[in-house]
């Protein structure tokens, strides 16, 4: 570097300050260690996507987790111990997420980690959790877990995986919308789960995928992808994530107009986005998959009403008092339910501290499922202890007057597929 220009009076105070900071920087690590050994609380590591492409989900995951934790503590905690959340931002970045997992394990000494959503982050972090022998409860929809890619420490006790969702949707799509499908999906693991499983599922129904279009999740402009949609398409199956989802749907609408093919979307394409805006009017009459119905339905359960109120979401799925602040309602229930699933396993094992980690995991594996309740507001679950994966109802909703109305609820059996792995044969 050219010194002549850079050479300006140096501030000794700046340097002295930085030197002094070094001691401070190291200190919390030592402190953290001492604090964690007291063992009178259950500490749960919560890596959320506060920043990065998953940020709109992360914010709501955090709010849901806090609400559920407060409620659990109000009701006496777990085995008489209060639950404490240790939240860290993983930046929706696989590399940072792995580091955060290490931090939870070695510094915060948490009892378990839960709440990761984006599948590429999960894919990087789950093997590390296994190495660190850290119970890791994901809320991700990733099929990698049930396919046997991870290890005995990783569970998905609430939200169903993409494979389940897709195989339960395909028959309905081919019966009601059409058999020639164009897929539009994000260009990474989550999207590939959709592509691979849906292609197989629709072919089993006698349909076919006429084109598949992968879009990078960081993309902000989409029109140029749409010419790849063939004219023979009967159904456009779309699932997008990332900051540009609204633009995606808007441009899709502009491109297709009103006489286009049928649309079937995963609500991911519109999570955290208002539905009743003029640019989205073309969606009227189209269908969406929902993990949990965003709009309170006519036959809303008491459980859903209870959960909505505690998390602070109104009957339209937006934050109480702020209709523009729409939640990620179709996904975030999984954080709430996962906390309760962990609670159930810990209570079964009479969990008091990390020494009983294995007992707690074995308890989790022995659980058959959960009934619909305040703890499981999305509905009944069947849990498969071998694949560590949960199965539940799926919803198909139609846009009517700018709101989503549930048209069809799949049975839990519709989401079943043969086991692809058996984690219980793996050692701890």
């Amino acid at each position: 570097m050219k010194k002549s220009a850079l050479l300006l009076p140096s501030r000794r105070s700046v340097l002295a300050g930085m030197g002094g900071a070094a001691a401070l920087l190291a200190a919390p690590g030592l402190v953290g260690r001492a604090r964690a050994q007291s063992g009178d609380v259950i500490r749960l590591g919560a890596p959320f996507h506060r920043t990065g492409i998953g940020a709109s989900y992360g914010r709501w995951y955090e709010q849901t987790a806090k609400a559920a934790t407060a409620l659990i503590n109000e009701q006496g905690g777990i085995n008489g111990m209060q639950v404490e959340l240790v939240i860290e931002d993983d930046g929706t970045d696989p590399k940072r997420s792995v580091e955060v997992m290490e931090k939870f394990s070695a510094e915060h000494n948490v009892d378990a980690v839960f709440g990761t959503l984006f599948s590429h982050v999960v894919a990087a972090t789950a093997p590390r959790a296994g190495e660190l022998k850290m119970p890791y409860f994901i809320c991700s929809e990733s099929h990698a877990l049930a396919s046997g890619a991870f290890n005995r420490y990783v569970f998905q006790p609430s939200i169903t995986d993409v494979k389940s969702q897709v195989i339960s949707m395909a028959p309905w799509i081919s019966d009601n919308l059409g058999k020639k499908v164009t897929l539009i999906y994000p260009d990474y693991a989550f999207g590939y789960d959709h592509r691979d499983n849906f292609t197989a599922a629709i072919e089993a129904q006698g349909g076919e995928v006429v084109a598949d279009i992968a879009i990078p999740p960081t993309e902000t402009s989409f029109t140029r992808y749409f010419p790849k949609i063939p004219f023979s398409t009967e159904v456009i199956y779309h699932v997008m994530v990332g900051p540009g989802v609204l633009t995606f749907v808007k441009e899709l609408g502009e491109h297709l107009g009103s006489q286009g093919p049928e649309l079937f979307g995963f609500i991911d394409s519109l999570e955290a986005v208002q539905l009743d805006i003029p640019q989205l009017s073309f969606l009227e009459g189209s269908h969406f998959w929902e993990g949990n119905p965003r709009y309170a339905q006519a036959d809303q359960t008491d459980f859903d009403a209870f959960y909505r109120e505690k998390v602070g979401v109104d009957e339209n799925g937006a934050a109480m008092g702020d209709p523009k602040n729409v939640s990620t309602y179709a996904h975030m229930f999984s954080v709430w339910e996962t906390l309760y699933a962990m609670k159930a396993a810990m209570e079964m094992a009479d969990y008091k501290g990390p020494d009983q980690k294995v007992a707690m995991l074995e308890a989790m594996e022995s659980i058959q499922g959960f009934d619909a309740s305040n703890a499981f507001p999305q509905g009944q679950k069947v849990f498969n202890g071998k694949t560590h994966q949960s199965f539940g109802h799926q919803y198909i909703s139609k846009v009517v007057d700018g709101k989503l109305e549930v048209q069809h609820t799949t049975s839990i059996e519709d989401t079943f597929y043969p086991d692809e792995t058996d984690y219980t044969k793996m050692s701890f």
């Binding site: 696989p94 590399k95 792995v98 931090k103």
Partner: protein
């Protein structure tokens, strides 16, 4: 005592302290220190180019990633033993450095910065584009059987914290001493001559293009060594190691610690890594501190901490 001897003693002292720290620190800090040592190697590589040769690259993530991917992919797809995979990583980054160096060194100053930035950006995009091989954003996790290796009958397990620390420490020590030797001898004097007065150096009969190319290759290869080490030790390779921010990292570390000082990269890396690690628990916007520091260092302490100490009190601290 000559200046060089004083510096060598200081280096040895620092190494002794680093080695001893593993018995004192909490397990998390040992892990953090392991990471710091590897990233310091990255920064030391960067320092050879920026500090000693005066060439500012904005694309060193490319070399780090070259080492990371060459070694990681070899291990992942062909099951190459870790020791060999490490050497493949070093070789891979050396090849990439020579090729990029041959092209980029035809330019100077701002153009050099942008050329390195662009090559690095292309490399980053390539890791995304060829996601079928590299795993793209999601990356690849090395299988369990690739997490340990046999060294002359001694099984080294990469999931063990102590093993990891001592391997990182060994590589760090080797690179530190290598840098010491390289920057002292005739080669080191040529580097300084190129930085100080390229015209005169050329007239004295040195081919400055060759000198620069050697520095560039050495710098890139050391960065790649750090990358290979990082990937193999933590068992994960992914494209975020190739992004722009990872090119800024060694620049920042070197700038804070002191460009053109032997121990500056270590100091800068340690301070910044711990600072960012602490902040990410407190605020989501920890990058703001990185930004402020870049500006503050440029404005008031362009020579970094050790560089300033050297100029004021200890001329030998090169």
């Amino acid at each position: 005592m000559t200046n060089d001897r004083k510096l060598l003693l200081l280096c040895l002292g620092v190494l002794a302290i680093l080695f001893a720290l593993q018995f004192v620190l909490s397990s998390y800090l040992v892990l953090a220190l392991t990471r710091i040592l590897i990233l310091s190697v990255f920064a030391m590589g960067y320092n050879i180019l920026m500090g000693y040769t005066g060439l500012l690259s904005l694309g060193h993530a490319m070399f780090f990633a070259a080492g990371l991917y060459a070694s990681g992919l070899a291990s992942y797809y062909w099951g190459v033993p870790l020791g060999w995979a490490f050497l493949i990583g070093i070789a891979g980054s050396a090849v990439v450095s020579v090729i990029i160096g041959l092209l980029a060194l035809r330019t100077e100053a701002v153009a050099f910065m942008i050329v390195t930035l662009m090559f690095s950006q292309a490399a980053f995009l390539a890791t995304l584009h060829f996601s079928k091989i590299t795993g793209g954003d999601q990356g690849l996790t090395l299988p369990t059987e690739a997490r340990s290796f046999d060294l002359f009958g001694l099984v080294l397990d990469m999931t063990h914290d102590g093993t990891r620390f001592n391997i990182a420490f060994t590589v760090f020590a080797v690179v530190l001493l290598l840098t010491y030797v390289a920057t002292r001898g005739p080669f080191g004097r040529q580097l300084v001559a190129v930085r100080g007065n390229p015209g005169r150096t050329e007239m004295l009969g040195f081919n400055i293009y060759i000198v620069k190319l050697m520095a560039f290759t050495l710098s890139g290869t050391i960065a790649g060594t750090a990358g290979a080490l990082y990937g193999l030790m933590f068992g994960y390779i992914g494209s975020s190691f190739a992004d722009f921010q990872n090119s800024i990292q060694p620049l920042l570390f070197t700038l804070v610690g002191g460009p053109g000082t032997l121990l500056g990269p270590l100091l800068g890396t340690a301070l910044m890594t711990m600072l960012i690690d602490r902040l990410s628990g407190l605020t989501t916007a920890y990058l703001i501190v990185v930004g402020v520091l870049l500006i503050v260092m440029t404005l008031w302490a362009p020579k970094g901490i050790l560089g300033t100490i050297r100029d004021k009190w200890a001329r030998w601290l090169n």
